[in-house]
Structures are given as structure tokens and as C-alpha cells.
């Protein structure tokens, strides 16, 4: 079906936008960033389409070399704007960037689902749901972390953000390559979880340590 991606975009974005005034202020921010993530996914799909045509429809080359670069850069732009204009608080930036990544993955997954609806299984849904969404969230959050230095340490912001962007691009490239290979695809499915779980454990441990320190004081 022609214009499927736009139809899907409208179907997803319209109800979410209509719900915005009714949502609590604290949750509204996250919802806005999910919407931004969905919009960036639509934009990136057009950019990737141009690259795919330019590179003679070499799907493997484009998905393992070009799309990680375009996707990570475009996902980082709204977070960069947010860091510059609104706040450079790390907690806010991490939440915002993770929401952008999740919104992006949400739209990407739904679009792929419509394109391959005949072949999809519960296994596919579990894999796409957990691994791809997590991967997009982690990559954008990593870049968002670097942006938290935007006002505090300007020097570190410029070089740190570029460095983290390069790290995210490489990570994204590894993931795309793993999930497309026949023999190694299961490593790809678990890669985001292997990254995410130690991060969460580390954050919880830090939080507990800080809390017990504050309680002692």
C-alpha cells in the first residue's frame, strides 16, 4: 500500500497528541519526547530511503554502515535542542533521550510489522520489542548523557558528545549486523539486555549508596 508509513504515522501520533492536554504535567514531557521519537523515525526513513536508492538497494550495506549514522545523529538533535534551550540536568536529559529512542523504536517496529505482517510471530514481537527498543533507548540515552555537560563544562560537552555519538553509532552498527546474520542473530537479540542490565544495576547501587550516605548525615 502506498503512503503506508504516513498513514501509520498519523494513526499513532494523532491520538497521542490529543491525549497531551489530559496527561499530568510530569508525564506530559515524556509523552512529548516519545512523539518526537516517532517523528524522527519518519524523517529518518526518508533519509535512509535516499541512501538505499543511491547505494543500488544494497540493504545489508545500508543497514550496517549508513543507517546507524543517520539514525543516531537525527535522534540526538531534539535532545541537543532540549539541552541547549530548556535544561541541562542529567536526569531530565537521560529521561528525554531514552523516551526519544523508545518512540523511534515504537514507530520502526510498527512499520516493519505492517511490511512483513504475514511472516511475523510472537518470537519476532518479543525480540523486536525488547532488543530493538532497548538498543535505540540506550544509544540515545548515551548521547544525552554527554549533553548534560552543555552548560557546566562546555569543553567536555563538545568533545564528549561527539565521542558518545561515535560510541552509539558503533554499538548500533554491531546490533544491526548481528540481528541480520543467520548464525549470530541470537547474540544480537541479547546484546541490548546485556548492556542494559549492568547499567540498571549500577544505577540502583549508586542510588542506594547515595541514600544511605544521606541518611547517615
Amino acid at each position: 500500500m502506498e503512503n503506508m508509513i504516513y498513514i501509520l504515522f498519523i494513526c499513532m501520533v494523532a491520538p497521542l497528541m490529543l491525549s497531551l492536554p489530559l496527561i499530568k504535567k510530569s508525564s506530559r514531557g515524556i509523552m512529548i519526547f516519545i512523539l518526537i521519537g516517532i517523528s524522527t523515525a519518519l524523517f529518518v526513513s526518508e533519509v535512509n530511503g535516499v541512501f538505499l536508492r543511491t547505494l543500488d538497494d544494497d540493504f545489508l550495506l545500508v543497514t550496517t554502515t549508513v543507517t546507524p549514522v543517520t539514525e543516531e545523529i537525527v535522534k540526538a538533535l531534539p535532545v541537543l535542542l532540549y539541552a541547549f534551550v530548556f535544561t541541562d540536568e542529567r536526569e531530565h536529559l537521560l529521561t528525554a533521550s531514552f523516551a526519544v529512542g523508545i518512540g523511534f523504536a515504537l514507530f520502526e517496529n510498527t512499520y516493519i510489522l505492517t511490511q512483513t505482517a504475514v511472516n511475523v510471530t510472537i518470537e519476532w514481537a518479543l525480540i523486536r520489542g525488547f532488543s530493538t527498543a532497548l538498543m535505540h533507548g540506550i544509544c540515545t540515552a548515551a548521547v544525552g548523557f554527554g549533553m548534560s555537560f552543555v552548560k557546566k563544562k562546555k569543553k567536555l560537552f563538545y568533545c564528549g558528545t561527539i565521542s558518545l555519538l561515535l560510541l552509539a553509532i558503533t554499538y548500533h552498527g554491531i546490533f544491526n549486523m548481528l540481528v541480520q546474520s543467520e548464525s549470530l542473530k541470537y547474540f544480537g537479540f541479547f546484546l541490548p539486555a546485556v548492556t542494559y542490565i549492568p547499567l540498571v544495576i549500577g544505577m540502583v547501587m549508586n542510588y542506594r549508596r547515595m541514600r544511605s550516605k544521606n541518611a547517615k548525615q
Partner: protein, 221 residues
Amino acid sequence: MKLYLTANIIGFVCSLFGFIYGGIYYFRPRKATYAQMIALALGCNAFGRLFYIVRLLTTGFITGSVQLGFFGIAGSFMFFFSSNFGTLDSLLDDRSKTFRKYRLIALAAPAVFILMYVLLFLTADIRMMWKILGGVLTFFTVLSTYFNLKHLIFPDVDLGVVKCLRPYNFLVLIYAVSVYTECFALSRDDAVLTLVCCIITGLISAAMMPFIVRGLKKWRT
């Protein structure tokens, strides 16, 4: 293919060791951002190597087209640059005339890499892709090595930290030469030289974090 695979596995394991070691040691609140950046540099290198490993296992080649793993390895220099330029340099160098000679001498490192780029990549009879990749790598190494050489020769005036970090800065300079030589070897499809460079880079990557830990401990005591 086997030599390339072995080379990158060595590089990956050593960098991962450095990354995990640094991660456990420094990724806590109020720990030195300087060391965190170095740990991330090793992580970036590890991911770059992992990309190459996966590429070799899936398609069997890494020298035919542009690989994102290359940007992972080049990205490690950006982190080394961030650690020195973003956190330490402004504390050491007040831009006064006293330190001008150190700033000028430090330019020798970027000059060497630019010269190497002209001789080994720009004027050589190789594919355009490698000339561009060589240029990208030169850009990142130039940024990083300037500060590494500067902090290697810089006088320890107030803080005392420069002296403690000298071994680390020296290691990064060797790391830069080794990675640069590896890029040269890849552009010529020389698997043996790639393996040698990966072993050197790997050993340095594994040694870097213990040197940082020791250096920063020594400085505090």
C-alpha cells in the same frame, strides 16, 4: 581472514578488560571524570573491535568497504582528547607566556601524524576510501596526541597530577602510532602487520587503566 579475526579478538579482549576495570573503579558518583573518559575510550575501542569481529564472522572481509568499527576505534581518540582537553588542560595551562614553549613543542606530535598521513595515505597509490579514512583517523589522532605530548612534557607546577599521569600519556602516544600503523596495514591488506599492531594496541589498552588507577592514587597520597 583468520589473522584479522585473531588480531581483532586480541584487541577486543584487552580493551574490554580495560573498560570493565575502569568501569568498576570509576563509574560511581563523584569519581574522576578524567578516568571515566579513558574507560569509555577503551569501551569505544572494544566496540570497534567487536564490529570488525562480527563483520569478519558474517561477511568474511573488513578491508573492502567502509566499516563502522573504524569509527569506534577512531572514537577512542576523541575520548582521550576529551579527558585531557575537557577536564585537565584548563587546570594546568593558564595560557600564559611561561608555558608557551611546551605548547609549541607539543605541536610536534600532530605534525608527525600529518606528515605520516601525507606520505602513507595522501600521496600513496591506494584507494580513495583509504585516503579518506586515513584523513579521518589523522584528524582524531592529531587532536588527542597534541594534549598527550603536552601533558607528557608539561612542568608539574601546582597540582602534582601531571607527573603521575605521564606513563598514561606516553602509553596513549604509542597506542596512537600502533592504531595508525594498523590503518596503514589494513589499507595494504597486510594481515601480519595488522596482527602485530593489534597485539601492541591490545597490550597498551589492557595496561592503560591500571596505570591511571596507580597514577591517580599516587597523586592523592
